[in-house]
Every structure is written in C-alpha cells, then in structure tokens.
Symmetry: C2
Subunit: 316 residues, 2 copies
Amino acid sequence: MTIPTIHDIREAAARIRPYAIRTPVMTCGSIDRRAGCRVFMKCENMQKVGAFKFRGACNAVMALGEEEARRGVVCHSSGNHAQALALAARIRGIDAHIVMPRTAPAVKRAAVEAYGGRITFCEPTLEARERTQAEVIARTGATEIHPFNNTRIIAGQGTATMELLEDVPDLDAVIAPVGGGGLLSGTAIAAKGERESIRVIAAEPEAADDAARSMATGVRQPPRPPTSIADGLLTAMSELTFTIAKRNVEKVVTVSEAEIIDAMRFVWERAKIVIEPSAAVGFAVLFSGRTGLEGGKAGVIVCGGNVDLDRLPWQK
Amino acid sequence: MTIPTIHDIREAAARIRPYAIRTPVMTCGSIDRRAGCRVFMKCENMQKVGAFKFRGACNAVMALGEEEARRGVVCHSSGNHAQALALAARIRGIDAHIVMPRTAPAVKRAAVEAYGGRITFCEPTLEARERTQAEVIARTGATEIHPFNNTRIIAGQGTATMELLEDVPDLDAVIAPVGGGGLLSGTAIAAKGERESIRVIAAEPEAADDAARSMATGVRQPPRPPTSIADGLLTAMSELTFTIAKRNVEKVVTVSEAEIIDAMRFVWERAKIVIEPSAAVGFAVLFSGRTGLEGGKAGVIVCGGNVDLDRLPWQK
C-alpha cells in the first residue's frame, strides 16, 4: 500500500471527470456569521449517490485493467461506499459484489440493488463479513475495493478538495470529517500538494474520537463502541490513513452529539441544503470556536446528504 | 397602477444588486430524468429571508424617495413578504410596520421581529387588517408596500428570471408558481422581454386553482376557501397581475396535494435542497407530463425554502 501523491489525485481527477459531478461550492451569510469566518461549502451531498464516496469508487473501478475489471469488484459495506461501488461498476459494465449483514436496513439493501449491486448476505460480525468476502473473491476473482484503506480510493476522495481549491484558491484551511480517514487523507494530500501553508483540520464526533486520541498519542488507538449519530464516521483509521493524517493534519477538533444535531439543523434552515449528520460534524467544528479560523476563509467538505427523511435527528 | 416593463426590471436589478443574493442555478440528473427535460433550478430558497420575496421588497423600499422613506413602510402579511419588507427596511434604516393577526403562529412573529419589523396585532379578518393598516398609515405616514399588487414589487420579483436567463439563455420555458401573481407577473415580463418566443407556464395547486379558472374563463375568479399545503399560493390574483398573466402566460397547470408532497420529497432526496411546498408545486408540474416540455430546457423558479423542520408534510 503506497501513499498517494498529488499526481495520483490529478490522475484521478482526469479519470473520473466524465462520470462524477463537479459539485458546486456554496456560501451562506448566516453560516459565515456564526462561524466567524468565510465558509466555502464543497457540496458532495450533491455528488452522485449523494456522497463523496462516488469519487473514490469511480477512480478505483475505472483504473482497473481490462482483465481485472472483467472479474468484477467486491466490498463489505452497507453504507454510501457500497452504493458508490455499485454505481461505478454499473457504469463500467462489470459486477459489483456487496457483502452485507443480514441485519442491514431494508433501505440500504434497496439502494445498493437500485444501482445494480449484487448482494451477498452474511452474519453481522466482522469475521463473517471478511470470510464471506473471501469466498466471493475465491469464486469470482473479483478485486476488493476497500472503502478507505486503498490508494486509489484516497486519491479519488482528494479530487473534491482539488476542485474546491480551483474555485477558491486562497483558503486558509480545509475541514474534513474523519471516520476511516479516506476523505481526510485525500483532502490533506490535495490541500498540501496545492499549497503547503494551507491548514487541514479534521472534524470528529466526541463519541467516536479514535482519530483525536490517535493524533494526541501518536499511536493508532482502537475505536470505542460506536454510538454517534454521525454514522459515516464510526470506523477507525487504518495504518495508511493514520500515517497520512499524522504528516498533514494540524489537529482534530471533536464535537458533542448535541453540537452535531444543532449544526445540522442550522445548515438545513439557513443554507437550505440537505446534509447528513456526518457532514454536520464539520459545521459543528466551525461553530465551536475551536478552529482558530476567525476572520479567515475555510473550506468544508460537505461529505454527504443521505438522510432518513421520515425521522430527523431533532424530532422526537 | 402601471404594468411594469423589462426596463423596470433592469432598473430593479441594478437597485437590489448590492443587497440581494445572486442565487445559484442548480441542476440534478434525477430531476431531469423524471421531468423528461433538462431542468434549471433558480434557487430563491437561498435568497435572503429564504424566498424570492426579498427581491420585490428590496426594490420597493430602495426606490422610495428620501422624504417618503423616512416615514417608513407598512404591509399586512404574516408570511415571507413581511420578513422581506422588515429586512429591506432595516437595511435602509427605516421602520417597517407589519400588521399581523393575533392568531399568527409564534414562529412567524419571531421571524419578523428578528428582522426588526414593528408588529401591530389585529383581529384575524381582512377588514381588521385593512383598517389597522390604515390606522398605521394615518399615524405614521408610512407607505403601503402590497405583497404583489405593486409595480415595483413585480419588477423586483422579475429579476430572478432575468438572472436565470443570463446564466441559461436558451431556455424553452420558465415555470413559476402562482398565488397573488407577483412572481408570475415579474417572471413573465422578464422572460418575454428577453425573448418573445420563450414559454411561460404557471404552476398552481388544484386546491387553490383560481388562476387556472380565471385564465380558462378570461375573467378573474374568486378564490376558493384556501386548503392547499402550498401556503404561499393561497391568495387570488389582483386585476394587475391577472392582466399581465393573460397577456404573457401560456397556461396554468394544476397539481394535486399528493403530487406536491411527492415532488417536494423527491427534490429533498435527490437534489439535496430544502424547498417549501409552494416551490414544490413547480416541480410537481414538471413531473406531471402536462407541460409539453419533453426533451427541452425548462427553468423553474424555486420560490422559497421556509419550512417547519419539526413536522414535514410526508410525516404522520
């Protein structure tokens, strides 16, 4: 596993250009006033499948050789990465095998199936997921596309920040949420590759603060039992993404569940965009007064907008 | 009362430029596929106060002479126009008197007060509202700014379409919702003033179909008792706005309450923008198959995004 460079991100940008949406960069006066700085929102909630995940998955799928591609791709995930991989594979005309626990919500199965993914169910343990994925690979020869511990995935995710900096070159900082660290790593490499002085800040729920603890101790820390509403950020970083973060990320700012929900509602009400709780973590950090960005210009990667509209976090 | 021209709209555009947001024009593949044509969303939900209403109010307030302005402005409204007028007046540094029934929801009072509006309460009848407004005018000398039966208001609302056509000049049609007809009138004058061949289509709830009945009969029809969820569209057109619509609007397409709610949810889910029910009416028309726009390019004025996030229309 090699650390991707700015060149990998440039290649990824060219590779995904025909398929991915160049998402808008939006601004909102109410958000600026509350954050105390100018905020530029890179709206990956408006990306295909409603999340930045399509960038990495598309890069990984399109980069496969013909022979390799023909055997398909596989991942064990039930979230946005699974949908993104299914869609990228469908665009290339190859199979995407998605290993998913039997207990996954019906809405997640339906989403993967809508993009043509072939689901293999398994027991809801990590061991069962990995064994089932190994079986799929043994049977089909499919290539595993890990959601973040993968050079091409990281390079693909970095293209969001590359576009953001093309649109707003003089940002003081870029803020990205951190779960497994794929988005954060790509963001950091893109930002530092464009301009070494730019600050990269990670946003993390207090209730899933393994990145903050890992950065504080310099040693990768195990995750706590996942409890945050920001369900895209429950995974712990891999050795690869932690290595990249250690080199490039200035700090991790953590926020409470109440801060996340409050920020999410504020963004819906004022910016009029639909963002998921994981995306609200970045805004909660901007509103926390703990960024040191007052008076400056901050980019924030709005990582996704996939929400259950029947039940919003602030509703009883 | 004179019918505004494209020149009035150009003047309005110059007048409000320092204060109003040039809202983005957005697109969404899922919406295009469902509508069967390319759809360009003029996002007035991202305008100040969350609705196009700020354009007209700002134009009307900024166009007042010094002497007139000093005595303030007044309207009887409890919706987006009241907030818009309060904000425009605050920017100019003058008083905005808002006459509001005692029964208006607390959230609407709070919104007007947040923009510095001075509320005068009255009984919840049209007669009481008009009498109370007359008393405010007698006491203060304030100028009435009617929400739609006003040349400058109409000209201001037209600036949204002018900007839309600057961004996307080759639209086949522009769709705007119709209530009192201020937005529709401004839209029609702007569109026809830019290019005579452009089609202007009005979008209206079946449950508040006075515009459709008026256009069908050629005579202004009284409103039915208002029942639509699209609470920005319950007012009937005035003689002024009906005259403009008769000359410039090709047809009124009506949609059911179920179609409105379904379209609203679809836009939230796919385009990831927060739109209010009145704005969803335009999308419901696009999805109805009754526009004759298949394969073409349609602009839609997304009139606002002010929604009670505690209770969404599709929730029990």
